[in-house]
């Protein structure tokens, strides 16, 4: 995408939220994990989900993209109800998912992994930009995907959804296992993506990092949103947050 | 009033299912009906099972039939290894075993049993028929393609003996894994041996594949002849005349031999979906008929008596003609040498054979003295 052009997603200007989650419940088999999540994300925003281990952050992400079929409630994306759709249809609407466990394919080379997700909308990053962002990947392009180091795999997982043109990115703990220098890099990347009009939902343990990139934070506890804090108010609420996160 | 139970034990799912299988059950039923057993006060029940060409399965079923189900006689049992095992069990349980489908001469030779009768053919008779005839027609150098198991080897050995006795020579042989689907390499070896006759000492699918490929490689056009040492009409049907034409083969029965065979075969075909009977089917019919005759004569089904009676009475029926059950259990009757017709010569769907010669009963089978059966020493 050339610089200077206006954000290409028409929803960006619309007042309606890009994603609206209402009373979302989700189950793993018989265990009820999400108990009525309610939150929304406007176009162009970076929003984080914070919470302790097991609070239900990952489950929320999986529910949005639809890989967890047992869910109820409402998830509206660009004004469309997606709760009944299979995940491939949801992805085609323009949602990119970077899973917690990275999901690098062992039987594919790094390049093949990178090229795997199909382009769903115009406006994705060109491959060169992605490789420039993560030089390690370029160097190891012909390696088997899972032969990469832990951190390199994380870069690959993020990199591959930037290509697809999805305008909502779901990043589940993208900084886990990354060296500080790369975390800084990722932070700058997220900022750049935001400038390009991408909308991002970020799950993070590392709220100091989150604070550097996010507009807003939702606090998740036992499958519910228990608080929302604007980034600007973060300092003021730091004690409350520490209590939530058990620090 | 005698009640007998017959068990038709044969291959119902494997390579020999067409030449024996359900057809043998039909043949046994026809024998019971034709004999009018019920009117003569003999109540006959027929059961059947699949031995899958495995001796342990065959022996197991035989044992259970005799022990549990009250079977008096077992019929058919193609595949020599199973037949030998069933013969063993039959002797132990003192019942009656009338084999039609198997080829082993040992059944009435070294491993003969007072309770076993071998009806239709054996490897010696096949060798004698086809081997002898080929040499007589000038095919005096041979190369064998032999299935690498006892039946194939015995067919090769028997034929070798006949061929050399008739002044012919065996130039070589190759043992093929069993079963095999590609014979081109073996055919090529046979071809380069320069032998006039290529003897196929195998059966079923192996033979079909070998013949099909021989025609493809132009072996016969180049002047060598093929001798299928054991070919059933079902095999010829599967090959089609185009590939099978010119083959010389030995059978104990052909549907189109005479009025008697034609009449019976038509009835058989009507009950088996249009398929003409093989000699194995005919042998089952013939054997059951003779068995019932013996029971009728004795008004008893005591195995020892029945077998003695069967050996005493000459055999005589429309399918196999006149013959005799020898003391070693071997049934002797005429055998026939056929040649497979060219497609142009055939007048109908099952019109496959030309009769070349009739081998009289007395010459067709191995003399009892040479068999090594301990019963007749």
């Amino acid at each position: 995408m050339a610089d200077g052009t206006p954000p290409h997603h028409p929803a960006a200007e619309a007042p309606a939220p890009l994603l609206a989650v209402r009373d979302l419940h989700a189950w793993y088999g018989e265990s009820h994990v999400l108990h009525g999540m309610d939150f929304e994300v406007r176009a162009g925003e970076v929003v984080t989900l914070l919470g302790r281990n097991g609070a239900g952050k990952t489950t929320t992400m999986k529910s949005i993209i639809g890989v967890l079929p047992q869910r109820r409630g409402s998830i509206m994306f660009e004004g469309r109800e997606t709760i009944g759709l299979p995940s491939r249809r949801i992805a085609r609407l323009g949602i990119g998912y970077c899973p917690e466990e990275r999901g690098i394919f062992a039987s594919l080379s790094v390049r093949e992994n990178l090229m795997l997700p199909p382009v769903v909308k115009p406006g994705g990053l060109p491959v060169e930009d992605i490789l420039a962002l993560f030089p390690n990947l370029k160097e190891r392009a012909a390696s088997q995907g899972t032969k990469l180091s832990g951190g390199e795999q994380q870069m690959l997982a993020i990199g591959r959804i930037l290509r697809t043109g999805a305008n909502l990115l779901l990043l589940d703990e993208p900084t886990e296992g990354l060296a500080p220098v790369i975390i800084g890099e990722i932070g700058r990347t997220i900022a750049a993506l935001k400038r390009r009009g991408f909308t991002i939902i970020l799950v993070e343990q590392n709220f100091r990092f989150a604070a550097t990139v996010a507009d807003r934070h939702y606090v998740v506890e036992q499958g519910r949103i228990v608080d929302r804090i604007a980034n600007a108010d973060l300092e003021a609420n730091i004690d409350k947050l520490h209590a939530y996160l058990g620090v | 009033e005698v009640a007998v139970k017959l068990g038709v034990l044969n291959d119902r799912s494997g390579v020999y299912a067409d030449l024996s299988g359900e057809g043998s059950v039909i043949a046994a039923q026809m024998a019971v009906e034709d004999f009018k057993a019920a009117e003569k006060g003999i109540k006959v029940e027929i059961i059947s099972a699949d031995h899958q060409n495995k001796p342990d399965i065959g022996a197991g079923i035989a044992r259970q039939w005799y022990d549990q189900d009250g079977v008096d006689a077992i019929l058919d049992v193609p595949t020599s290894s199973v037949a030998l095992a069933v013969s063993q069990v039959t002797k132990e349980k003192n019942k009656v075993f009338i084999d039609s489908g198997a080829g082993a001469t040992d059944l009435t030779g070294k491993q003969c049993s007072p309770n076993t009768i071998h009806w239709t053919y054996d490897t010696y008779a096949l060798a004698k028929g086809t081997g002898g005839a080929m040499v007589k027609r000038g095919g005096d150098t041979w190369f064998f393609i032999t299935a690498d198991y006892a039946f194939g080897k015995s067919l090769e050995d028997n034929t070798t003996a006949i061929v050399t006795a008739a002044g012919g020579k065996v130039l070589g042989s190759v043992k093929t894994p069993f079963p095999a689907s590609d014979f081109s390499s073996f055919l090529l070896q046979a071809q380069s041996s320069g032998a006039k006759v290529i003897g196929l000492a195998n059966a079923g699918g192996d033979t079909i594949n070998a013949i099909k490929q021989a025609s493809e490689f132009g072996i016969t056009q180049a002047g060598q002849s093929l001798a299928g040492l054991l070919i059933f009409i079902s095999d010829v049907h599967a090959l089609g005349l185009q590939a099978a034409q010119g083959l010389v083969l030995t059978e104990a029965f052909y549907w189109d031999l005479n009025d008697g065979t034609r009449e019976w075969s038509k009835r058989f075909a009507a009950r088996s979906g249009g398929k003409m009977p093989t000699m194995v089917h005919a042998g089952v019919y013939s054997g059951v008929l003779h068995y019932l005759k013996a029971i009728d004569a004795l008004k008893s089904k005591d195995p020892a008596q029945v077998i003695a009676k069967m050996k005493e009475m000459p055999t005589d029926d429309p399918l196999m003609g006149k013959g005799q059950v020898r003391a070693d259990g071997r049934v002797i009757h005429d055998m026939y040498l056929f040649e497979v017709k060219k497609p142009a010569e055939s007048k109908g769907e099952w019109d496959y054979y030309k009769l070349l010669a009739t081998i009289p009963a007395a010459e067709a089978f191995k003399p009892m003295a040479d068999g090594g059966c301990p019963l007749v020493k």
């Binding site: - | 799912s13 699949d50 001796p55 399965i57 022996a59 197991g60 259970q64 290894s81």
Partner: protein, 324 residues
């Protein structure tokens, strides 16, 4: 490579109680059955049951799918038949000879096969078993496709005449029970614990200082030995040793038995053997429909009853436990 979907042995105590109950039920059945059913059929079931349980010791508890177990079963059956017929050994010695042959063969095949995993392991065992098959086909002492026929049952310890089916049945039942108890013990032994750990997470076991190959080799050899015990006994029951027992289809059949019965349970495969053998015996009159029926059973098992009979029984047992 593939998700671990072979049901794994349950850990809890309830399993132990379930096992004891199943063993007790089995004992009652074994004693009562010959009064109702044909003893030879029962002996066949018992021999195949032991074979299937031995196979399952390897698959269910070692996570190793052998596709060549027929080699041990069949080879032992040849040796025991040969020993009884040609050397005139007494039945117990013939069985011992067969079983030990399987042990040695197991050691050899195992030491080659355990170096590979998953499907490659299965394929090596298959290939080695095919070589054993070829050997049996070619070696003169096996009698080619006729097999070794008319094997004498002989006198146990030179004293007890086994020609009566009921006497033989008692012997076979004793042997098979002993085999099953041995399997139970192996599974629930210190060795079994380590094996379970290796199956669960091999690299971790390695990092704790265990040599997984040694454990696998021992397990393999034990499994081969017990499979051999089953084969050797079978040869005497049927007085016949034949190629059927060394063929790859037999290796496939034992997988089927284990699957139908329930992989990863001590006695499940026994139940699987009952079903498979009964099907073969009682469907035989169906002729060519036998294979179709067998095929349907396979398909239904895989699609609907992956836990096997034992899995279903376990479910019912647990439900009863909850209710009661």
């Amino acid at each position: 490579m593939a998700a671990p979907a072979i049901p794994s042995p349950a850990t809890d105590r309830r399993q132990g109680a379930g096992d004891r109950a199943a063993f007790a039920a089995l004992l009652v059945l074994i004693v009562a059955a010959p009064f109702v059913l044909y003893p030879i059929f029962l002996m066949k079931v018992l021999c195949f049951g032991l074979f299937a349980c031995a196979f399952n010791l390897l698959l269910g508890y070692g996570g190793l799918l052998s596709f060549g177990h027929a080699a041990f079963f069949g080879m032992a059956s040849y040796v025991s038949a040969y020993a009884a017929k040609t050397w005139g050994l007494t039945p117990e010695l013939a069985i011992l000879a067969g079983t030990l042959t399987a042990t040695v063969l197991g050691l050899v095949v195992g030491s080659l096969a355990i170096r590979r995993q998953g499907i490659y392991f299965a394929m090596i065992t298959l290939a080695l078993a095919q070589m054993v098959y070829f050997f049996c086909l070619q070696a003169p002492f096996t009698g080619g496709e006729d097999g070794i026929q008319a094997v004498p049952r002989g006198r146990l310890f030179g004293l007890i005449d086994l020609s009566d089916d009921r006497v033989l049945y008692a012997l076979v039942a004793a042997i098979v029970l002993a085999g099953l108890i041995a399997i139970h013990r192996i599974v629930h032994s210190p060795f079994g614990q380590v094996m379970k750990a290796i199956r669960d997470n091999e690299p971790r076991a390695l990092s704790l200082g265990y040599h997984p190959e040694r454990f696998k080799l021992i397990l393999f050899t034990l499994s081969a030995t017990l499979a051999g015990l089953a084969g050797a006994t079978k040869a005497l029951v049927f007085q016949l040793a034949s190629l059927t027992d060394v063929q790859w289809t037999m290796s496939g059949e034992v997988v089927l038995m284990a699957l139908v019965g329930g992989v990863g349970t001590v006695l499940g495969p026994m139940a699987g053997a009952v079903v498979v053998v009964a099907m073969e015996t009682y469907l035989a009159p169906l002729g060519s429909w036998v294979t179709v029926t067998q095929g349907v059973v396979f398909v239904v098992c895989v699609l609907a009853f992956r836990q096997g009979l034992a899995g279903m029984a376990g479910k019912i047992w647990r439900r009863l436990g909850r209710a009661g």
